[in-house]
């Protein structure tokens, strides 16, 4: 099975926890960080695999309307980012 290519779209799916940052912390974020988190149901676009770590790099828009670029743990990318 081939990996993602630039422009492929995925949906972050993690209904048990609000967002990607909250999952990493293992508990609630402050209200400001909560608003900036990559939340369940967000569509992301694959850019490339990071040249150093090999982690997938995705682009997405946060709840404030700001474009963001984030590296994603490869295991979580495989399990929680579903083709959109």
């Amino acid at each position: 099975m081939s990996g993602p290519v630039m422009g492929d779209r995925f949906m972050y799916h993690n209904p048990d926890v609000f967002g990607y940052g909250e999952q990493a912390k293992g508990g609630p974020l402050t209200s400001e960080m909560h608003d900036l988190d990559l939340r369940d149901g967000t569509e992301v676009q694959f850019i490339e695999f990071d040249a150093d770590s090999g982690w997938p790099i995705v682009e997405w828009v946060d709840s404030t309307g700001l474009g963001r670029i984030t590296t994603i743990d490869p295991v979580l990318f495989d399990n929680q980012f579903l083709p959109a």
Binding site: G19, Y20, G21, E22, A24, K25, L29, M33, L36, D37, L38, I47, E48, D50, A51, D52, S53, W55, I57, D62, T64, L66, G67, R68, I69, T70, T71, I72, D73
Partner: protein
């Protein structure tokens, strides 16, 4: 003395600019530029670095949710000295591992990889040490000193 000050261009960008305005070389095609974060101590970042592989760069590790963000600068101002700055807020993260203390923003020409050319360095007005789960946000520039990431020629 090669230590950088705020908003100063690296050697690579200085060469690109001079060769372009004196019609010695074609400017590169229009493309995105990106803003990285660096933990290098003040006074230790070297203007002679030509790529993100430089020994004094010390970029945040990418296995942490961190990635370079679009710098998305304004057009250079019609003024002397001419300036440009980030046109929108810039937010890194959310971080999935503690990335250390950021001292600098570094503009470069690729979203990842140490082959990216260094363009300019911006000293943060205060250091930032994001925790796991945090995002790190910087204000949009306005052209006023001390607001956003301003580069001046």
């Amino acid at each position: 003395m090669t230590a950088l000050s705020q908003g100063q261009m690296f050697q690579y960008a200085e060469q690109q600019a001079l060769n372009a305005v004196f019609l010695k070389a074609q400017s590169p095609a229009v493309a995105n530029t990106y803003l990285a974060l660096s933990t290098t101590a003040i006074g230790a970042l070297q203007s002679t670095e030509v790529s993100m592989a430089g020994a004094s760069i010390n970029e945040y590790a990418t296995a942490s949710g961190y990635a370079r963000q679009n710098y998305n600068p304004t057009a250079a101002s019609a003024a002397s000295p001419s300036q440009l700055w980030n046109s929108a807020q810039i937010t890194w993260g959310p971080f999935t591992a503690a990335p250390g203390t950021a001292q600098w923003g570094i503009a470069c020409d690729a979203v990842s990889g140490t082959a990216a050319h260094t363009i300019a360095a911006f000293l943060l007005s205060s250091t930032r040490t994001p925790a796991i789960g945090d995002s790190l946000q910087a204000a949009a520039g306005t052209g006023a000193a001390g607001v956003g990431f301003i580069c001046q020629v």
